[in-house]
Subunit: 302 residues, 4 copies
């Protein structure tokens, strides 16, 4: 007589809030050396990837997250040839970067081989074969170690790793010192974009601290955010560059998308307008931020 749903996944966003997802079917559940992984099918969002109990990516709306993460940085570089993706195990960040014909070399560095292998197998609609593209080279290692030992320059670097809300290896990928390292590896007109945590006012602490840290390092820093239905929140990103510049206008973004022959579902000039304009309360909060994430005082921020 009662509810017909029995399998629920509970994603706690705080001790007193949670989102619950009715699961049609669990596809894969496993613990890697680094994290707990679930791949599951839902009625509302299609296939979902959960890492350490948090929704990571949904079949129905990953295009929003990945287009927002990739295209502002890629379009603002005149002709990105060599690109680095840090994290991004699902392969959808690769997919978006590979849409650019100028790209000759795309390096992806991810810590967790087991996650990438499972994404390759079970998240086909995400990567769409991108892992097999000749331009792609995969390294399974710590991104910081990779960058310290790699001297070549990148036109665009895209960071798609979990925000520093918990202890773990990702904590070191949001510090002052790390961003200096990134800066030193960008080519002259290089761009750096990263996923940067929830921007919903009750949960903005992490985003805000990352933004302030980047501001100490990069002359050009632009936080932005996109609402992702399966996350139940607005998700934050930050675009930055080692040189001063201006954000393209709505019409210039439209022109760039057209010139580069991109087929996009989410991003265009008006979308850029929507996501780079920040509400007054959020701007105030970002302006008041004083924390700088530092290698010498590493701790989770939330």
């Amino acid at each position: 007589m009662p509810s017909e749903k029995h399998k629920w996944y509970i994603d706690h966003t705080s001790p007193g809030t949670a989102h619950i997802y009715g699961i049609e079917n669990y596809i894969r559940s496993f613990q890697t050396r680094y994290q707990q992984v679930e791949i599951a099918d839902t009625e509302m969002f299609g296939r979902l990837l959960f890492l350490d109990g948090k929704v990571q990516s949904a079949e129905s709306d990953e295009y929003i997250y990945h287009e927002a993460l990739v295209h502002p940085a890629m379009l603002m570089h005149p002709a990105p040839r060599r690109v680095l993706v840090i994290g991004g195990g699902e392969g959808a960040t690769l997919r978006e970067v590979l849409k650019y014909q100028s790209v000759e070399e795309l390096i992806m560095v991810d810590l967790d081989k087991e996650v990438v292998e499972n994404c390759r197998k079970y998240l086909e609609s995400w990567h769409q074969g991108s892992f097999n593209d000749n331009r792609v080279t995969l390294y399974f290692m710590d991104a910081r170690e990779y960058l310290e030992n790699e001297n070549g320059a990148f036109d665009v670097i895209i960071s798609d790793v979990p925000e520093p809300v918990e202890e773990g290896p990702a904590l070191k990928l949001f510090t002052n010192q790390y961003f200096e390292l990134i800066k030193s590896r960008l080519s002259e007109k290089g761009m750096f974009s990263l996923q940067a945590g929830d921007t919903s006012m009750p949960f903005i602490a992490s985003h805000s601290a990352i933004n302030n840290t980047l501001n100490k390092v990069m002359p050009f820093v632009r936080p932005y955010r996109a609402f992702v239905p399966s996350y139940n929140t607005e998700w934050g990103f930050i675009l930055s560059a080692p040189a001063e510049m201006e954000l393209p206008s709505t019409s210039l973004f439209d022109k760039l998308v057209e010139e580069r022959k991109l087929e996009l579902q989410y991003f265009d000039g008006e979308t850029a307008r929507a996501i780079f304009a920040l509400p007054k309360d959020m701007r105030k909060r970002l302006e008041e931020e004083t924390r700088v994430i530092d290698d010498n005082h590493l701790m989770p921020i939330y």
Copy 2:
């Protein structure tokens, strides 16, 4: 040993999705003639109002919703003197309208006296005494009936009633015919804004149908949306007018806010830029909409 939270409120957004709120304390729970009402305190969002199982308003972020609902319409009228608020039982819509010194008469029509009385008593931080303002007149009746029997014109009409996702009296407040009635009661430079449902892609059907219906009636129609943390989603509004016009620029909105001496937490020029610019996927969805909500074929839309 386990969780310290025991009282949870579950807001089902679909058979397979829900948001859950840990409750510190239930303040009031009652069933009126029209709806089930809960007022409860939470750690994350402060006091919350739930109607018929859906979160309606949170102490911590109702300013986002109410500023977004009220100010675009009020600012675009050169000098609103006579204003009508439909619904809006919490009194926060009144609060925002009363910030305008030009307002001489503010009429509020709400169906549910019991809800309004409880909001007056338990949601003080929402209305902040607005119900006692001399300019305010309250009617407890059906808004459509009120409008059919009222011949005077309004400079601004603001509709703050539940969207038509379920059977109920609100269904008739989103039709073609009703919007014609609204139009006939607007003064020459009159503006009409309404709350218009969830705009998250999986739940946009209702918003989209309302928008299309308004498009049949009003020459100027601009859907917009604001992310409200306690709703876990972007919420939709629609601004409209019986005459063609243009949306003010960022700087003009800023100038208007300053001229009218408004103290706002959320709305300003850049916020307007953010909320009126719509992402590509949402624009596409709105453009493809064909449904018109009609008195003769009333049914819930979701």
Copy 3:
């Protein structure tokens, strides 16, 4: 920071009550022609089998259920040679019956081949190889059809099929007419035992109706119940026979267990004393029951 459990299975026992199980791992989820099946591992109860959203059997305490179901009937027959098990897909009912050296032929009739095959593969600790015992014959068909076409007599018949709380094929396995059919297939000293639903006072309706129906057919009828931790309730059984008889004393049951060299974890003389003695409120409720389940007025009972 919050709960470390994310996968939960919700077993609704009524619209306003449910038990929730934190799942370590889902082993198998599938829909057969007859039912929805889940096999999952939990910390508290080990492996669990769920059918149509209800917990069916737990690794940690299935011995309680299966010993209670099988041994009173088997021990009260002087030397059971030919035994029929109806349902009992997990194979644990077989396992208990096979402990009797007197058993020469054990027939199991289950509707759902797919469930039995999965139990064979994934519930090894339940059946412990019983399906491979030479004495066992399996039929995948409707039990009623089987009995109508089978003329031989059985010394013990054990029914282990879902109680009639919902529409479905099991409904016909609890009627007056069906029990007459069972009676006609029992040998002279034959015994019949069946699982007979929850006996917790708020949920006893089904048990009570089955008991009353059996009372119309069999001269000897003894309802009993055992608390099963993973069910969160006391579970009901009914022992019956086509001839008047007396329940063995505590010491006689102990003697029978010893003579037949049974190794049991749950059942013995004192356990029999505990489970056949019924509390006053339950006895009153059973005495007041008037419903008889009849082929001609089949409907779910709850």
Copy 4:
């Protein structure tokens, strides 16, 4: 469209198990000096009392718990005149004791005045005015302190305080030394009964340790248990006495109930038979227990 229940109370019995109760209405929620208290109405169990997140008592089935706790001890004393109840804030333990005409003096000692006052006001169907009976004297203080300063003897002592599964004042009311104190305050034919925790196999640790501790102190110790629907489990009690004796037979218990003119819903001779007979697995577990709860090594047991 989805579930009509929104208010749920979650009672976690372990990190991976919980029972959830749909709440019709919260009556009272408050924090006393000692515990968190909720009084709420449900469809299934009527009014419920929760203490520190655990269901304590339900309108629909508190008679099971309270009759099981009180009557074995009271009936086994030839004529109880002076009775002590420790804890039992709802007043239902008083109610059962007051059914005995032989009782002249009934002292209740409870730590938490605020709980008792709220029970008096909101749990009328529990106490049924017992607090106003002339024979009753109430003390709000620590039971151990009370007993240390009270030299008179009691015919029956009934302990109705939370089992020692968490830090708190109740921990000291289950020790070796405390039971010696109880023993010293019992009259010659005195009886002592106490509520003694969940006896469901996964949760029996606390019950088992209490039983073993009592065995070190009292010559006569009989653990027993009753299934209480709203608890979703079998609940344990222990009957003890400072002198060797035998448990009355089924018929003797029936005779005693009749002689003393008790009107009971749950307890009688056959119920006694059911609750004092323990299943084999539980007996084995109790026999193997070695822990003794001692003032000098106090710690929660679970």
